[in-house]
């Protein structure tokens, strides 16, 4: 069991470019969560899927951010027209339900 896999580990984009972050949950886990972590804001909930269906996206900025889970083996977080304030560590976690979350090591996004 390799745990939750997030790729890439680091991504640098220019302002206005698109960034796609990937998450491979633990096999058999039915829930996938996305969080954003910054020094200033701490750990912010973004969105949550259960059995591939979006359950709660209340934390997602309505513009530029979107998340999908096309199959049970991966989820993506896409940020269009990236801005410097999007710079953060993006954490993905998976779970059997929403009990114990198993986190990946995160993707550090830097927007220049």
């Amino acid at each position: 069991n390799a745990g939750v896999i997030q790729t890439p580990r680091h991504k640098v984009t220019g302002k206005g470019q698109e960034a796609t972050l990937w998450c491979e949950p633990i096999s058999g886990h039915s829930a996938v969560f996305w969080y954003r972590q910054t020094i200033v804001q701490g750990l912010e909930f973004l969105t949550y899927f259960r059995n591939q269906a979006p359950i709660d996206d209340s934390g997602m900025p309505k513009e530029r951010f979107s998340a999908q889970m096309p199959n049970q083996s991966h989820s993506t977080l896409k940020i269009q027209s990236t801005q410097p304030q999007d710079s953060a560590v993006y954490l993905c976690a998976s779970s059997f339900s929403a009990e114990t979350l198993y986190f990946g090591s995160g993707t550090r996004l830097t927007v220049l």
Binding site: G42, F45, S97, T100, L101, F103, G106
Partner: protein, 113 residues
């Protein structure tokens, strides 16, 4: 909605000393409570969790936490800290097993040798 307050942004203790990291939650029902730890450049890892039963729960590496409903608290304790315990500790709450988990802002623990 649920929320979590960790009043101490940073706690410094000497190696071998006892530790308490404070956590208070806001939720009208009986919560699911968690403590997670984050080491540098890693994701969060579960230390312990409480759903019901004995209000004192044991976790990994000698950590324990006590659920006190009357105080809406779930403080984390350890009898004797080690330098390797230096990390950021997050308290979290959920309404039930199918709801999202709300995290506190975290407490950075620094263990001095």
């Amino acid at each position: 909605a649920q929320s979590v307050t960790q009043p101490d942004a940073r706690v410094t203790v000497s190696e071998g000393a006892s530790l308490q990291l404070r956590c208070k939650y806001s939720y009208s029902g009986t919560p699911y409570l968690f403590w997670y730890v984050q080491y540098p450049r890693q994701g969060l890892q579960l230390l312990l969790k409480y759903y019901s039963g004995d209000p004192v729960v044991q976790g990994v590496n000698g950590f324990e936490a006590e659920f006190i409903k009357s105080n809406s608290s779930f403080h984390l304790r350890k009898a004797s800290v080690h330098w390797s315990d230096s990390a950021v500790y997050f308290c979290a709450v959920s309404a039930n097993s199918n709801n999202r988990i709300f995290f506190g802002d975290g407490t950075q623990l620094v263990v001095k040798p």
